[in-house]
């Protein structure tokens, strides 16, 4: 059991590392692109804020992933530990594979799919009845995946339109952009905090489940581990992603970056409050489209919407399928 828990923590750390390396980096990249901060400053600021978001605000989503989908309290502790490990391994594997092929998948969707897979495997072994799985929560989660990018788009559209009407129309463009360069540092931090609060659960949810986390209280060290993993991810790999993405999204000038980031962070933080594990990246994409719809960008490629929807349809079954397979193998051998 201790070995199992250690493995789960390692797998959770890998998951957190992934989240820091890719998603956190994406959300902070605009500040690098606009040269508001240096790479070193971004890495430090992002690590701290992701960590704070995870530790202070990561509880609700962790709760949803740990016991919101699969009713772990009515299952055997050992099975839950196996299931949590299987979910982390399958999600981790899928994320690594999809990242290699540069598919715009979400870590949140992967872990939700994987936890569902664990639940279904338990059903197939008659430990659970199919109706024991919290389908209503699952439905809410899926709904939040659809709502969050749309909400981000609406909010970003609104914010950018206000900036356009009241600021860009009245003042010198270059001066406005210069001022927003610094304001954007604030929104980038806001995104980092919100991202930490939501995505940390992808790593900590299964760990919390494996700990046999029954009541409302969860040891703080679980969130600390998640936050630490994300920070390490940013520092060891994320800076390269920040560099690459930052140089490519110069189109997102400070006023646009501010609008998109503010909308994304607000949406993600709201989702964290409601305990909904959503994708920060997809919300950011939605927000950028919102700025584009407000006439703020030279060109937005709407093909990405199709790719994101495809990634939704692909991620949940694949992550669930992998979790079922890994869990079944583990039940036989462990």
């Amino acid at each position: 059991m201790d070995l199992l828990l250690a493995l789960t923590i390692i797998a959770g750390l890998y998951m957190a590392w992934n989240i820091g390396a890719n998603d956190a980096a994406n959300s902070m990249a605009t500040s690098y692109g606009s040269k508001a901060l240096t790479l070193k400053q971004i890495v430090i600021v992002a690590s701290i804020l992701e960590f704070c978001g995870a530790v202070f605000f990561g509880k609700n989503v962790t709760h949803t992933i740990a016991k919101g989908i699969v009713p772990i309290d009515i299952l055997d502790e050992h099975l839950v530990a196996l299931g949590a490990l299987a979910a982390l391994l399958s999600a981790g594997f899928w994320i690594t594979l999809a990242t290699y092929y540069q598919l715009p998948i979400s870590t949140s969707h992967s872990i939700v799919g994987a936890m569902l897979g664990f639940g279904l495997a338990a059903v197939s072994q008659n430990y659970l009845h199919i109706s024991d799985i919290h389908w209503n929560v699952m439905g809410k989660i899926v709904l939040s995946w659809i709502i969050s990018p749309i909400f981000g788009a609406l909010l970003a559209f609104l914010i950018f339109t206000l900036i356009r009407m009241f600021i860009l129309a009245k003042f010198e463009i270059d001066r406005v952009e210069h001022i927003f360069k610094y304001l954007q540092v604030g929104t980038a931090c806001y995104v980092a905090f919100a991202h930490g609060s939501n995505d940390v659960a992808n790593a900590t949810g299964p760990i919390a489940a494996a700990l046999g986390y029954m009541g409302q209280q969860m040891p703080v060290w679980v969130l600390l581990i998640g936050g630490l993993g994300i920070s390490i991810g940013i520092a060891t790999w994320g800076y390269r992603v920040i560099e690459m993405v930052g140089t490519k999204i110069t189109e997102l000038t400070p006023t646009r970056g501010f609008s998109a980031e503010f909308a994304t962070a607000t949406t993600v933080l709201l989702a964290s409050y409601f305990g909904m594990p959503i994708s920060t990246t997809h919300t950011l994409v939605g927000s950028v489209i919102g700025v584009g719809l407000a006439g703020g960008l030279a060109s937005v490629n709407l093909k990405i919407v199709r790719r994101i929807i495809a990634s939704w349809l692909l991620t949940v079954p694949v992550a669930a399928g992998l979790a079922i397979a890994i869990y079944t193998v583990m039940v036989i051998f462990l």
Binding site: T99, M244, G295, L297, V300
Partner: protein, 227 residues
């Protein structure tokens, strides 16, 4: 870079830089046309031929840019202006350099003898066309500020003022053209074939100015027709 999931895919192909480049090529082609006429008057026909080649090259480059824009401007792009308006604008702008090429060729057909006053009028016409196209290039330059400000009222008004300026210059070209036609059709002692060719030059040079004004108009339609 492998092992990176990035959000950069959300940014699509932007045609505006290429549009500006295309307009710049039009301006360069007219500059060469002016030089070609000067060489013609001095009787340096090998140079005239060289300038024709250079103008051809510019036209070819412009065609490549046009193709690039048309290939990449798919319907899945969300642009701040209407896609059809933009393509139509490009089509008209492309005619500017096409007519430069036509004139560049027509100059090489025959060695024309004409009185000095007619040549002087050609100089004036070419200079006015150059002025028109330079103004036009400035107009197209507005696109980056329009996008940066996301088409605020002030920037749109500035651009629209520029459209009018181009149209006024085109009108001045028209007047010079009319004067040249009158001179040519009343030229005593000129070879009728020379007159015919020079008249063709005038009408084709006129088309350069016409298409410049029409492109400016398409620019206006594109900018005002947003939303």
């Amino acid at each position: 870079m492998k092992f990176v999931r990035s959000v950069t895919d959300v940014f699509g192909y932007s045609p505006f830089g290429a549009l500006k480049q295309h307009a710049e090529l039009c301006g360069k082609a007219i500059g060469l046309l002016q030089k070609q006429f000067e060489a013609y008057r001095r009787g340096e026909f090998d140079k005239v031929e060289k300038f024709r080649e250079k103008i051809d090259e510019l036209e070819y480059k412009a065609d490549l840019i046009k193709e690039e824009i048309r290939t990449n401007l798919t319907r899945s792009l969300l642009l701040p202006v209407d896609r059809h308006d933009l393509l139509h604008f490009l089509e008209v702008q492309d005619e500017i350099i096409n007519y430069c090429e036509h004139v560049g060729h027509m100059v090489t057909f025959r060695c024309v003898k004409a009185p000095e006053n007619i040549w002087r009028e050609f100089d004036i016409l070419l200079a006015k066309i150059m002025e028109t196209v330079n103004k036009y290039e400035e107009l197209v330059d507005h696109i980056s500020r329009l996008i940066a400000s996301s088409f605020t009222k002030k920037e749109v008004e500035d651009a629209m003022y520029h459209v009018k300026e181009v149209e006024e210059l085109e009108h001045e070209c028209d007047l010079i053209q009319i004067g040249l036609y009158t001179l040519l059709f009343n030229a005593e002692g000129m070879d009728p074939l020379d007159i015919h060719l020079m008249v063709t030059w005038v009408s084709h040079l006129g088309e350069i100015a016409n298409y410049t004004a029409r492109a400016a108009d398409r620019f206006r339609i594109m900018v005002l027709g947003r939303g």
